[in-house]
């Protein structure tokens, strides 16, 4: 066992890889060169189009023990990963590692293939039942959870080598030029797949909208693609993007959003050139809504919005409140429409978005990010991976990346969820270190990290309900009662990798 600087015990090795204990957010230095892959030559007259997935898998030379990937822009509407694993299973190939950008509840269909040994491990976080089953010890399948920037780093450094990438290509031509803006499975940005296109040994574009050469605009180019397969459907369009994303109407959520907007105003960052990121949750969007009003009222012109992009951000772009949107993933139809038509709406890859080991990621230019949590603790550490029942249920996304990069990272969270007090002595799992979290906003009060005494004073001067985090915690527990601590077995089912590749925590099997 090894101990992180935050006091968590982690294994010496996990799934055959040495675990380097987390030390701090910024000092770990990378060594060596970027990963490479073999050169290739395609002569005139070459045909990339394969009759079906099976033929493409055989052509790619996929063998026992290799690693595959998909991207998660089709979210819970994705049919490709399940389709690929079925084809691999039918070929009798075993011990495959899945290194997708994320796995969603729809991929619970993979459980039998974990039991059968087709799937050996996940080099990515998982959302939903797979993590729950692993937490209960009902499947044995090591899981390495990574941030979006951390995944970019791991592919670029060669720590994760993808043998065959299956890229869902919503609009694609027979030579492999693709984008995400057209076709029945249009998902907008293909930002997470660009890494796979750059580093996977073999790249297979899979499309349900094969168009005559050339497809433009080009998100991923023909020079990166080895094979093209047309399938009937890549997924369920209803679940790929939301038709609309809306602000919350919940009074608690609105109260939290109101406080968060006040904190941003008090920080002094809300001025010309302001940059901002938020997720697609109802409370986050309510914060964006209030900021928009404040920006319009004060005539403030921001610089950029980033991350997963929603219609709210598109409106702000079109109203001139931001010059640019940096889009790694579209969350709704309005964002998909905009990325194909607004010149200021820029598709970016996960490397440019959040990788800590390059010439500088966009997250480093962020003023403010609004983030969620399943739990926070009195040291401001945040858990987004496990729920209070101890089950691994959520992937990290860009949480730790944006928290580390932004000048002001704000957690918006209700103080109680279904009787569970959200502020704990110690979070069940550390996803994001407290050192990178500045403010926690709940409906019962605002806690400010001690590193920001100026901000704390300014909030008090504005008569906002600032409380010491321990005081806030006690107030909450007085209402909920003290929960019984969870009990865990010794075996580690997942490690939580920090964006720099060190291990910040691990997830143990929950005692039955």
């Amino acid at each position: 066992m090894a101990r992180t600087s935050l006091g968590r015990w982690i294994p010496e090795t996990f799934d055959g890889r040495l675990c380097r204990p987390y030390q701090d957010p910024f000092s770990l230095q990378p060594m060596g060169q970027r990963a490479t892959r073999a050169l290739r030559r395609v002569n005139p007259g070459h045909n990339k189009v394969m009759a079906n997935l099976t033929e493409a898998i055989l052509a790619a030379g996929l063998k026992d023990g290799m690693t595959i990937s998909t991207h998660h822009h089709l979210r819970n509407g994705d049919a490709l990963l399940n389709m690929v694993v079925r084809a691999i299973h039918a070929l009798g190939i075993q011990d495959i590692t899945i290194a997708s950008s994320s796995v969603h509840p729809v991929h619970a269909e993979l459980l039998p293939y974990i039991h059968s040994g087709t799937i050996r491990a996940f080099e990515c976080g998982v959302n939903g039942l797979i993590g729950e089953m692993a937490s209960k010890g009902e499947i044995r399948c090591p899981i390495t959870v990574r941030t979006h920037g951390g995944r970019a780093r791991a592919l670029m450094s060669g720590e994760v080598r993808v043998d065959v990438a299956f890229i869902a290509a919503p609009c694609c031509d027979p030579f492999g030029n693709m984008n995400g803006i057209a076709g029945p499975s249009a998902c907008g940005s293909l930002g997470y797949a660009t890494l796979d296109a750059d580093y996977a040994e073999t790249v297979i574009a899979v499309t349900d909208y094969l168009q005559p050469y050339p497809v433009a605009p080009i998100s991923i180019a023909q020079t990166q693609v080895d094979y093209v397969v047309a399938v009937e459907s890549l997924g369920d369009p209803q679940k790929i993007v939301s038709t609309t994303t809306r602000t919350t109407t919940d009074p608690i959520g609105l109260m939290i959003a109101g406080y968060a907007a006040e904190v941003i105003e008090a920080s002094g960052l809300l001025k010309d050139g302001f940059s901002f990121q938020t997720g697609s949750g109802g409370t986050s969007l309510a914060v964006a809504d209030r900021l928009r009003d404040k920006m319009l009222a004060a005539g403030i012109k921001g610089s950029f919005g980033s991350g997963g992009i929603t219609g709210y951000f598109v409106d702000m772009l079109e109203q001139g409140l931001f010059r640019t949107l940096f889009d790694v993933q579209c969350f709704d139809l309005q964002a998909v429409r905009s990325i194909g038509s607004n010149p200021g709406h820029v598709e970016i890859g996960a490397d440019m978005y959040a990788n800590p080991f390059n010439g500088g990621a966009i997250v480093n230019q962020l003023d403010v990010v609004i983030l969620g949590a399943t739990e926070v603790d009195v040291d401001f550490n945040v858990n987004v991976n496990t729920e209070s029942n101890g089950y691994l249920l959520h992937n990290t996304g860009g949480h730790s990346d944006t928290a580390a990069g932004a000048k002001l990272s704000i957690i918006t969270v209700p103080s109680i969820r279904g009787r569970l007090p959200i502020i704990r002595d110690a979070v069940t799992t550390i996803t994001t270190p407290g050192e990178t979290i500045d403010v926690i906003v709940t409906e019962r009060g605002i806690a400010v990290n001690d590193r920001h005494s100026d901000l704390k004073e300014e909030l008090l001067r504005r008569h906002l309900p600032v409380k010491d985090i321990r005081e806030l915690q006690q107030e909450i527990v007085a209402l909920t009662g003290q929960p019984k601590p969870l009990e865990f077995e010794d075996d580690v089912i997942a490690v939580i990798e920090y964006r720099d590749g060190s291990i910040i925590d691990c997830v143990r099997r929950v005692k039955a």
Partner: protein, 87 residues
Amino acid sequence: MEIRRKAQAGTMQSSDMMVFVEPAQELTIEIESTVVKQFGHLIRQRIEGKLQQLDVRSGRIRVSDRGALDYAIDARVETAIARAAEE
């Protein structure tokens, strides 16, 4: 109070509880909860306290809890019992 007939109170929404009561020889309490691991003991304690206060000595009490706080538990139990005590 006496449980004379079947009755229920509450909702299945988050932070609420459904309480089902019916006549029985003995007093039994069955708890199903999203937070049974963390709060099962406190939920039972609270229900027992409320039943004692209402002087309920027999009946089958079943709750389906979605993380109700103590005051919500009190209100739902009391309402279910009041409904079950009606002629």
